[in-house]
Amino acid sequence: MRVAVVVFPGSNCDRDCHHVLSEVFGLDSELVWHTETDLSRFDAIILPGGFSYGDYLRSGAIARFSPVMESVTKAAERGLPVLGICNGFQILLEAGLLPGAMLVNESLQFRCHPQEITVEVDRTPFTFGIKPGTVLQLPVAHGEGNYFIDEAGLAKLEANRQIVFRYAGDNPNGSVADIAGICNEAGNVVGMMPHPERAAEALLGSTDGQQIFRALINYWEGRK
């Protein structure tokens, strides 16, 4: 399985995702610079966390115009699994591949700590085979993770089963309906604020994040 980890100027979790995919799961992972325009050789795409373009206007606002995003959009339309983690989630929102927008955390402060989240649906490639209701402990690390969508949009998310993860326990950022991650209607594009790649090795305190990558592998093998 070939996975692209897209590197935007200012991404800083790119090497972490690449490390987990290749060292922990032995996948064929490749760091792809944002100027690349052809992603057709990949089976899945990850937009990693970080501060693309410094997050200077709004998180993800400038990165969405990177040359690579056109092929990310095409791949998403083709049904390829696309996962945006943290800043990657923000980029997917700005690019319109997922609905809603991000606001600054209610506390106005950056928050970095392990966080429990509940898996809500198993219909995405990244939760494939994970029983809904499963609680995972994954670190969060963000200053703008306060997910916002208007009431009509929220109703639609609920109706279409697009809410993939919710915060269990304290909500770290004030997001609407405790949303920690969502998917598009088709389910192949997922955005999440917590970092599964930071919880994929026992040495780092939790292996719950492995389930997200394992789900992707199982999903892909089932489709082969």
Binding site: G10, N12, G54, Y56, Q109, F110, C112, A141, L204
Partner: protein, 744 residues
């Protein structure tokens, strides 16, 4: 701008407003054999400032032990380098950003982080962690709250964005720092031996390139500003505040590491204090070469900048690179990938001169060596023990009333912001990015990072205790080194190198000079005795406000090595029923303690006496106990003494402790004394005999104190009287709510 002529400079003594003395001005005239022009004068003024030239501290540097088997680079480069085996080395350095943070806390702290990171990656190392040591006044003061929140936000804002985890640090609150906060930042990098890169401009004819951000008028004379006392006029006088751009820094890191990897770099140096002037003269003087620059070629952010302004600008996120002659295009291509300018602005020469042109015009010409640290004057001053010592030393801790119950005192100590949980701080820092942080902030006495691809770990800590140093600079400084080493040892790591940050008041005052002299002697003696070489250092003097110096505050950043990261240790108790024991000597010294401050509101008494031989034996015993898997927790006794140490191990684990003090004596001394050379450990009862053997072999006392419980916390006197009776939940509440409730 109309610059004064050389004659006007002399006539109007303009050098004085730049911080140069008459004698220094005369010396410059002598070096040049003529009167300096305005640009040249500015270059000397900044590079001969205390901040750049270490005029008062340099004479002491020879006291430091700077060599050792693992030292690959000692003081004199951008950062020290120690070998950790398998072809890897650790690069580390501490730097202060006190004055800028006092004026603009967010940007002051942020640019401090940016600057110290550049010192690391200019050596070819990828920055893998940063730490910080902060000092503020009391949190009851609104201005202090503003400074504290701003500094933490600035460190977070820069560090989080640039993708280097902030893994540890310390924060003290004391009136001694009310008008002059301290912000010391430490960065740690990892490098393959063959990638270690120096800041030298060698190879006559090699190009000199400016890479990274554009140059503006920010921070001109920042280094001079950092070398003066803060006064009410400081706000007016300050140069344009430098604004950090972590996005550009991130790109600069990747571009520089890619460049160094490509093998075309001869030398590279970041442009920190004094910008282009210092980087050019340091690179040339290290190589014994000269540099010729044309400042009209430097990429500018603002129009109409003079030579003086370009040479002295402290715009952030810039580097000076000397590549091989035929490699200019390689440099440009790599930087273009990251959208950063890389421009040839000059070349290396062989005559030892820094020659600055503005287009066709020669605007400055000075010998590189004379500008550099080695060329600057040094000063020995009169030293005199401060008068306050008479009062502080006459303090007798037995004047504090003995009580029957100390529960409230323990809760109050846990609630004091200096001791309390720093979760409010570190949850704002991304401490996990890069996937190396194995022991996270708050879990042990030091952070532990893995080295991917090996079984090794690196432990890092930064420590200081200004109050102890204030009460006895020599003993206090010994204690700082001992505590830093003990903190590393409590994680299972062997200390392998240290770097210091000297934060003092105005050295021209005999009392301050005495503190400086004594403290440096202490640092040096402890480093030598404990066999931990000094790989680098930084000094920040003139930390005063309204004529009052800060507590003399030497900070030590230390790095330790765990050969097997699986042997790492944390400070939380692990299981009910485990034995709690003291490894080390009985200690009853209350002088300079948090407890005395709680009771008297002052810093009084003699600080703990440090016995380095005992300290060394203790640390060996602790490392052996950890390596042999005998103990389940280790936590060093420091601020707040034994009781606070045990309380913290309880809180972290959500367990309790039933402790009986096996000594006669005053309960406050036994509970809250801050004597050194002591570590509280916990272990399964079955391991007691083995641990006893390990301790005896090192001739270190081992004393049973009690047992880990499911939540009750009790301290009982020798004669059976209860001294503290409480529950871990209450302790946790006091400890964890302290900062949030004060900042609400």
């Amino acid at each position: 701008m109309n610059e004064p002529t050389p004659l006007q400079i002399r006539a109007d003594q303009i050098y004085r407003s730049m911080g140069l003395t008459e004698a220094e001005y005369e010396r410059i005239c002598q070096i040049l054999g003529r009167l300096p022009n305005y640009t040249e004068l500015g270059m000397y003024a900044v590079l001969w400032s205390e901040h750049c030239a270490y005029k008062h501290t340099r004479p002491f540097f020879k006291l430091f032990p700077t060599s050792g088997e693992r030292i690959l680079q000692g003081p004199g480069e951008n950062a020290g380098v120690v070998d950790i085996g398998d072809g890897w080395a650790v690069v580390f350095k501490v730097e202060s950003h006190n004055h800028p943070s006092a004026i603009e806390p967010y940007q002051g702290a942020a640019t401090g982080v940016g600057g110290i990171l550049r010192d690391i990656f200019t050596m070819g190392a990828r920055p893998i962690a940063s730490l910080n040591s902060l000092r503020f006044g009391e949190l009851s003061d609104e201005r202090v709250k503003y400074l504290f929140q701003g500094v933490v936000a600035g460190i977070a804002g820069y560090g989080n964005a640039v993708g280097v985890p902030t893994v540890g640090g310390e924060v003290y609150f004391d009136d001694g720092y009310a008008g002059n906060p301290l912000v010391n930042v430490m960065a740690v990098g990892l490098v393959r031996h063959e990638m270690i890169t120096k800041a030298v401009a060698s190879g006559v004819g090699n190009p000199v390139m400016v890479v990274g951000a554009y140059t503006g008028r920010d921070g001109i004379h920042g280094a001079t500003f950092a070398s003066e006392e803060l006064t009410d006029a400081s706000e007016e006088k300050r140069p344009a505040v430098q604004v950090g751009d972590p996005f550009t820094e991130k790109l600069l890191i990747e571009a520089c590491l890619e460049l160094i990897e490509s093998g075309v770099v001869v030398g590279i140096q970041d442009m920190g204090a004094a910008g282009l002037t210092s980087s050019a003269c340091e690179m040339a003087s290290r190589a014994g070469s000269g540099i010729e620059l044309d400042i009209s070629l430097v990429p500018r952010r603002e129009p109409g900048m003079s030579a003086y302004e370009v040479m002295l600008s402290e715009s952030q996120e810039r580097m000076l690179v000397v590549p091989k002659k035929d490699a200019v295009d390689t440099v440009k291509a790599i930087f273009a990938k990251y959208g950063l300018p890389a421009v040839v602005v000059g070349k290396v020469t062989d005559d030892g001169m820094i020659r600055v042109f503005d287009g066709p015009d020669l605007v400055a010409e000075v010998p590189a060596k004379s500008l550099s640290t080695d060329g600057a004057p040094t000063y020995l001053r009169e030293a005199k023990p401060p008068a306050y010592l008479e009062q502080t030393r006459s303090f007798d801790s037995s004047s504090i009333r003995v009580q029957s119950d100390y529960t409230v005192d323990l809760l109050n100590l846990l609630d004091s912001p200096t001791i309390a949980s720093k979760r409010w701080v570190y949850r704002q820092y991304d401490h996990m990015v890069q996937l190396n942080t194995v022991v996270v902030p708050g879990a042990a006495d030091a952070a532990v990072l893995r080295v991917k691809g090996t079984s090794k770990g690196i432990a890092v800590t930064i420590d200081g205790n200004g109050r102890h140093v204030y009460l006895d600079p020599y003993q206090g400084a010994l204690g700082v080194v001992a505590e830093a080493a003990r903190n590393l040892v409590c994680t299972g790591a062997q200390p392998i190198g240290l770097t210091d940050g000297l934060n003092f008041g105005n050295p021209e005052k005999p009392e301050v000079y005495w503190q400086l002299q004594q403290a440096i002697r202490g640092l040096a003696d402890a480093a030598r005795e404990l066999d931990i070489p000094v790989a680098g250092g930084n000094a920040s003097l003139y930390n005063e406000s309204s004529g009052r110096p800060i507590y003399p505050t030497p900070i030590v950043g230390m790095v330790g090595l765990l050969e097997e990261i699986d042997n790492r240790m944390t400070s939380d108790f692990k299981a009910e029923g485990d034995v709690i024991a003291l490894l080390g000597w009985l200690g009853t010294e209350l002088g300079g303690s948090e407890f005395v401050k709680l009771k008297t509101g002052q810093a009084l008494g003699y600080p703990p006496r440090i016995d380095l031989a005992k300290e060394k034996a203790l640390q060996q015993a602790c490392l052996a106990a950890i390596a042999n898997g005998l103990i389940r927790s280790a936590h060093d006794i420091s601020e707040g003494g034994l009781a606070v140490c045990i309380a913290e191990s309880c809180i972290q684990a959500n367990l309790g402790a039933a402790v009986t003090l096996p000594w006669e004596g005053r309960p406050d001394e036994l509970l809250f004394g801050e004597s050194a050379a002591r570590i509280v450990v916990s272990l399964p009862p079955a391991n007691w005999e083995e641990l006893w053997k390990v301790a005896s072999e090192s001739k270190v006392p081992l004393t049973k104190l009690g047992v880990v419980t499911d939540g009750e916390v009790t301290f009982t006197a020798f004669d059976g009287r209860p001294l503290v009776v409480t529950h871990v939940d209450k302790l946790a509440k006091a400890w964890e709510d302290s900062l949030p409730k004060r900042l609400r």
